[in-house]
Symmetry: C2
Subunit: 344 residues, 2 copies
DNA sequence: TTGAAAGCGGTACCAG
DNA sequence: CTGGTACCGCTTTCAA
């Protein structure tokens, strides 16, 4: 059977509430009794029931990270875990230091509506605060639900500022601009952009950055629709190669797509970067080891996690965190976007 | 304020227990009252508190998937989410159909001891059953804790059979054998194996399969230690290229490592597969699009998820699932392991 | 300081 | 069929 607190209390020969206080280091308990209780707890291998604890205390001790996206989708999730890892780690660590627990609520965008899940979280006792990481289109229903929520929220990389939710954003637009500019500086004359999945903020921001750079250079934008996976990158690149004025450089929505694109290019007997330069996005672990190695943009996951933790803890402490934090991404130039010297 | 069941009952003008029954479709409630209760619930935007529900019912309704591994590690997690996705999906779906909820407990092997986390899960009200997916060395402490657990357990790809825990395994050994045999059949004379991380069952099984195939062909095994990430694959390959009798084919522990290896080979001015053939493991999404595309082994994640769900539900129904299920992997032959015809 | 008792939000048994 | 009531395991007043 389950060992309960009252078992411990009985064993230690003290009252229930004393046992509770002793274990929680709250309120007054004499050293003597505390020791007895602690020993009893160990002897009985007692472990508190978090459910009961939370239900009784109403002291929400967990912070929910609400992630929606096509988590688990073979097509495009390759970089997902990779992206989340450092963020989870940093966020979880900082939050734990403040005495909270990180609860990760994954929500696949293809099963059920995010708003429903949020509704559930909203009512559940568990959440002191919610971190939103929504990688799907924001519809009215979702926004509606968000407005109902009364615990502090912080959003990561999704445009929720208008709801007054503090935002932690990586500067995707700026990174897209930098990446495109890098291609422009490299002397490429026809630079295309292979877009990410439609209707995603992450996609839009890349497009905007790309367009800004192109406009500033008075160059004509050229785009294909795409996705975050290599399959789509492959076919999108083939489309790009079929047009009359082939691009000689492509800024891809992410590394996976770029890898697909690279294959398409080489299948046509063309070379990266001699015929077509490539820049990806994300710096997934293999990118550095491709041949040619892939130029890309590295997002500051760890700093984002830390910033998120700070913002959430600020909220919880009753302070107002900055409305928006824009954390720069790093452009990583590798072989795929640097013209090779002509060997004589 | 929180809307509770008693608010709903009051609003509907019925007793608390009636309201509970109406909402749960359990026990007898007249259609009339049920409608009233349902309407009241909707009107008040009532949502049940899962904590209280579980605490009161003691009817464990969630199945915990306990995963330990270096989840979140930038170095080697690329394939992790990709691997888990389909498994989660299949498992979650089948379990949901039976009225359970899947609770995913991620446990990084580098933070805290798995046994501690298990101890917590053990006592928590939430778990009707536990699925173990342990990708770290099994030490005494962990085995000890496992033995204490009294809810049904099923293990995925970890050697826990001796504890009497039903196992769902993908046939890694068999796949390694097939992969090596494929290289042997291809006429490669010096076939090496680049190992996975030390002390992991997954690593051992690959080694065993490799050795079996080599022994059957009376060839001399040749191994380097490695890991699951491209960095290590890269340096391990360089080591392999430094020995006198260079291999002309390498079976790598996974695709990421193979990609690192491929880079090392090409940096030496050698070609894949003409000078050295490569076979990976996992079939991560980009593998098909590499140049040359990577031969690899695809694990049956979806079937594993389904089999796991079946086993767990069997346990829960009081039946005894098979002690061990071995699900075959699929060898996928691509360019990296097929000698190209000499063009004349 | 300590412990008895009143919940937290539900579920389930039992008498009506 | 229905509603009162005793818990689930723990926290938290509030007397003692």
């Amino acid at each position: 059977m389950r060992v309960t607190l009252s078992d411990v209390a009985k064993q230690a020969g003290v009252g229930l509430s004393t046992a509770s206080r002793a274990l929680n280091r709250s309120g007054y308990v004499s050293e003597q009794l505390r020791k007895r209780v602690l020993q009893a707890a160990i002897a009985l291998d007692y472990y508190p029931d978090m459910l009961a604890q939370q239900l009784a205390s109403d002291r929400r001790r967990t912070i929910t990270l609400f992630e929606v996206g096509n988590y688990g989708n073979v097509q495009s999730s390759q970089d997902l875990e990779w992206f989340f890892g450092p963020l989870h780690k940093a966020l979880g660590r900082d939050i734990a230091e403040a005495g909270y627990e990180l609860n990760i609520a994954l929500q696949r965008s293809d099963e059920g509506h995010p708003a429903q899940v949020l509704a559930r979280i909203r009512r559940s006792h568990g959440s002191a605060a919610i971190v939103l990481f929504i990688r799907s289109p924001l519809d009215a229903r979702l926004v509606d639900e968000l407005a109902q929520i009364d615990v502090p929220m912080v959003s990561i990389n999704c445009p929720l500022e208008r709801l007054g939710i503090p935002a932690i954003n990586s500067d995707i637009r700026g990174a897209a601009l930098k990446a495109t500019q890098h291609l422009i500086d490299g002397g490429y004359s026809r630079i295309a952009h292979m877009q990410g999945p439609a209707h995603l903020p992450a996609t839009e921001l890349r497009i905007i950055g790309y367009e800004e750079a192109m406009a500033a250079a008075k160059m004509t934008p050229m785009m294909v629709e795409g996705d975050f996976d290599p399959d789509t990158g492959y076919s999108a690149m083939h489309k790009l190669l079929d047009v009359e004025q082939k691009p000689n450089a492509v800024f891809c929505a992410n590394d996976s797509a770029a890898i697909g694109a690279s294959r398409a290019i080489q299948e046509r007997g063309l070379s990266v970067p001699d015929d077509i330069a490539l820049v990806g996005f994300d710096d997934i672990p293999v990118s550095r080891f491709l041949f040619p190695s892939l130029s890309t943009v590295r997002q500051p996951q760890q700093r984002m996690g830390e910033a998120t933790a700070r913002a959430i803890l600020d909220c919880l402490a009753g302070q107002t965190p900055p409305k928006e934090l824009l954390i720069p991404c790093e452009l990583i130039v590798r072989e795929s976007s640097v013209p090779r010297p002509i060997l004589s």
